[in-house]
C-alpha cells in the first residue's frame, strides 16, 4: 500500500505545466521593449538617488562664479547652471527623487485604497454598492484641479497635502475597475463555498476577492505610476505643486519654459528625463498587459 503511494508520487509527470505566474514572468522577460524599460528606469532611479552624492554641492547651493553657465561636460557643472548659479544636473536629479517617490508611493497608496473600496463595494452589492459607487461618481464630477487645490488648502498646504490630494483624485478608476471584477467574482462557486464554510465577509474580501483581482490591478497599477508622476509635475508646472527652492521635474520644466526662447537647455534636461521615465513606465505597463493577457495583442 505504502509502496503504491510512493510509486504514484514518483510518477508526477516530469514536464509539469509551469505555474501561471512563472509563465507570465517569462512572457514579460521576452518582451524586449518592456525589459529595456525596466533597465532604463532602474538606471534613472539609481542616478536620481545616488547621483547627487557624486557632487560636492547640493542643488540648492549657488555658485556665484558660474551663474547661467551653459553646457560644458568637463567643468564642475556638466549641464551648466541656472540663473541663480545652481547646478542644473544636480537639481534635475534631486527633482527626480521627489517626482519618482511621489509617483511610486502615490500609485501604491491610490491602488490600495481603490482596490479595497472597489472590492468591498463589489462584494457587498445591493444598496451599499449603489451608494459607494454614487460617491465615486460625484467625485468624478469634480474638476480635477479644483479638487486638488481645495484638498491641499484644506490639509494646510505643503508636500504631504499635495501628495494626499493627488492620491485622493486617482483612486477612483482602480475602484471602479476592481468593483466590476469583485461583482463577478462574488458570484463564483469558490466564494459561495467560502461563505458556506463560515468565512466572514472581511475574510472573503481579503483572501478571495482581492487576490483574484491582482492581475488586472497590477496591469492598471503600472499605468497609475506615470499618471501620478504626470499629475505632480502638472501641478508643479502650474505653481500649485512642489514649491521652489525644492526642485521637482514639474517646476524645473516650468522654469525651463519661461526661458526657452533664449536657452532650451533648462527645459530639455528635465523634460527629457520625465519623458524617458514615462516612456519606460508605459512600455513596462504594455509588457505587463501582454504577459497577463496574451489575447489582447
Amino acid at each position: 500500500m505504502a509502496a503504491d503511494i510512493r510509486d504514484s508520487a514518483a510518477e508526477v509527470p516530469p514536464d509539469r505545466p509551469e505555474s501561471t505566474l512563472r509563465l507570465q514572468f517569462r512572457r514579460f522577460r521576452q518582451n524586449r521593449l518592456a525589459m529595456a524599460g525596466v533597465v532604463v528606469l532602474a538606471l534613472i532611479v539609481l542616478a536620481c538617488f545616488l547621483g547627487p552624492y557624486a557632487f560636492p554641492f547640493t542643488g540648492q547651493d549657488a555658485d556665484f562664479d558660474a551663474i547661467g553657465q551653459g553646457i560644458d561636460l568637463f567643468s564642475a557643472h556638466p549641464f551648466g547652471t541656472d540663473d541663480f548659479g545652481r547646478d542644473l544636473l544636480v537639481r534635475v536629479l534631486e527633482g527626480g527623487q521627489v517626482s519618482l517617490t511621489i509617483g511610486f508611493v502615490g500609485a501604491l497608496t491610490a491602488g490600495v485604497i481603490g482596490v479595497l473600496y472597489g472590492a468591498v463595494a463589489g462584494y457587498a452589492g445591493g444598496r451599499t454598492d449603489a451608494w459607494m459607487m454614487r460617491a465615486v461618481e460625484v467625485l468624478y464630477g469634480f474638476p480635477y484641479v479644483i479638487l486638488v487645490i481645495l484638498l491641499s488648502l484644506l490639509l494646510g498646504g505643503g508636500n504631504l497635502a499635495l501628495f494626499a490630494a493627488i492620491v485622493f483624485t486617482l483612486w477612483l478608476t482602480p475602484a471602479v475597475i476592481v468593483r466590476a471584477l469583485a461583482q463577478s467574482l462574488s458570484r463564483r462557486e469558490f466564494v459561495e463555498a467560502a461563505r458556506a464554510g463560515g468565512m466572514t465577509a472581511t475574510q472573503i474580501v481579503l483572501t478571495h476577492i482581492v487576490p483574484n483581482t491582482m492581475p488586472v490591478v497590477i496591469v492598471y497599477g503600472s499605468l497609475l505610476v506615470p499618471e501620478v508622476i504626470l499629475a505632480e509635475s502638472f501641478l508643479s508646472f502650474l505653481g500649485i505643486g512642489i514649491k521652489e527652492p525644492q526642485a521637482s521635474w514639474g517646476n524645473l520644466i516650468q522654469i525651463g519654459t519661461s526661458a526657452m526662447s533664449t536657452d532650451l537647455r533648462l527645459l530639455m534636461l528635465p523634460a527629457t528625463l520625465l519623458a524617458l521615465v514615462l516612456f519606460c513606465l508605459n512600455f513596462i505597463a504594455d509588457g505587463l498587459r501582454d504577459a497577463f493577457d496574451p489575447n489582447d495583442r
Binding site: G141, V145, L153, P226, S233, L238, M260, L267, L274
Partner: protein, 297 residues
C-alpha cells in the same frame, strides 16, 4: 440621476471650499476689520452658512450664479459666458481632429498589424501619452511660432492661425488614446464570430470593416469621448495658460487660489454639467449603435 449627482456636487463644493482656510478677502493687504465686515456683509458672507447655501441654491434656480468676489462688478455668469465660447471652439476642433486622426490610425494599425503604419501609429501613441502637454506645447511654440513664424505664439488676434497650435497640442494626447483604443477594439472585433459569418457569406473585406466591424470597434472610443470631450470643451487649463487664451480654463486654478467662492461653484457646476450631459449623450449613442443594447439583449 444626473441631477442628483449635480446636486451632491454643488453641496460638497459649497461646504468644502468654505472649510478651507482663508477667505476671498483675506489678502496680503491689511484692511481694517470694519471694512472687511462691510464687504462680507455685501456678499452675504456674514450670514450663517446654511442661510448662505439656501441663498445660493435659490439663485441657481433662477440661473443666477452670483457675483464674483475677485472680479468686482462681474457676475460669475458673465465670466463664464465670456470665456466659454473660446474654450468650446478650441475643444471642439481638438476633439474632432483627435477623433478623425485617432480612429484612422487605429484602424490602419489593426488592419495591417505590425506593418509600417502600425509602428508609426504606435510611436505617435506612446509619444502622445509619454511627452506631457506642458513640454510639447512650449516646444511647438519655439519651433512653429518663434523659429518658423508660421503661427502666433499665443493670444486670439490672428484668426484661424491663432487656433492651430492650441488645437493640435490639445488633440495630440487624445489622438494617442483614441488610436490605441480603436486598434485594440478593432483587433478584438475582427476576431468575433459575426465577422467570420459576414466573411463566410462572401461580403467583401472593405464592407466587412466599414459596415460590420466599425460599430464594434467604435464603442469603446465613444465611451472615452464622452468624458474627454467634456473636459476639453470646458477648458484645458494648461493649453489656455501656455497659449494665453481667454477661455475659462485659467479660472480653474485662479478661482480656487483666490477663494472666489461663487466662481469656483460656477466652474464646478459647468464642468459637472458638461460631464453629465456628455455621459448621457455617450450612453444614447452607444445604445443606438450596439444592437445588444438596442434590442434589450
Amino acid at each position: 440621476m444626473g441631477a442628483a449627482t449635480l446636486g451632491a456636487l454643488v453641496l460638497l463644493t459649497f461646504f468644502v471650499i468654505r472649510l478651507a482656510p482663508g477667505g476671498p478677502f483675506s489678502g496680503n493687504r491689511r484692511i481694517s476689520p470694519e471694512i472687511i465686515a462691510n464687504i462680507e456683509r455685501a456678499y452675504h458672507l456674514d450670514e450663517p452658512i446654511v442661510m448662505q447655501f439656501a441663498r445660493y441654491v435659490w439663485g441657481l434656480v433662477r440661473l443666477d450664479f452670483g457675483p464674483s468676489t475677485r472680479f468686482r462688478d462681474y457676475d460669475v455668469g458673465d465670466i463664464l459666458a465670456a470665456g466659454l465660447p473660446y474654450s468650446m471652439v478650441i475643444g471642439f476642433w481638438a476633439m474632432l481632429l483627435a477623433t478623425i486622426v485617432g480612429v484612422a490610425l487605429g484602424i490602419a494599425g489593426a488592419l495591417r498589424r505590425n506593418g509600417f503604419t502600425d509602428y508609426a501609429a504606435g510611436i505617435v501613441g506612446v509619444t502622445g501619452i509619454a511627452v506631457p502637454l506642458f513640454v510639447l506645447a512650449p516646444l511647438m511654440q519655439v519651433f512653429f511660432a518663434l523659429r518658423l513664424d508660421w503661427f502666433p505664439v499665443g493670444g486670439w488676434n490672428d484668426g484661424w492661425r491663432s487656433v492651430v497650435l492650441p488645437v493640435v497640442a490639445l488633440a495630440l494626447p487624445n489622438i494617442a488614446y483614441i488610436s490605441r483604443l480603436t486598434r485594440t477594439a478593432m483587433v478584438e472585433t475582427l476576431r468575433d464570430n459575426y465577422i467570420r459569418t459576414a466573411r463566410a457569406k462572401g461580403i467583401g473585406p472593405a464592407r466587412v470593416v466599414w459596415h460590420h466591424a466599425m460599430t464594434g470597434a467604435l464603442l469603446p472610443v465613444i465611451a472615452y469621448l464622452g468624458p474627454a470631450t467634456a473636459a476639453t470643451i470646458t477648458g484645458s487649463i494648461l493649453i489656455e495658460t501656455i497659449f494665453a487664451l481667454p477661455g475659462i480654463g485659467r479660472h480653474f486654478v485662479d478661482a480656487a487660489l483666490n477663494r472666489d467662492y461663487p466662481l469656483v461653484m460656477g466652474i464646478t457646476i459647468t464642468y459637472g454639467g458638461f460631464l453629465i450631459v456628455f455621459n448621457i449623450v455617450t450612453d444614447l449613442i452607444r445604445g443606438w449603435l450596439d444592437p445588444r443594447v438596442r434590442d434589450g439583449g
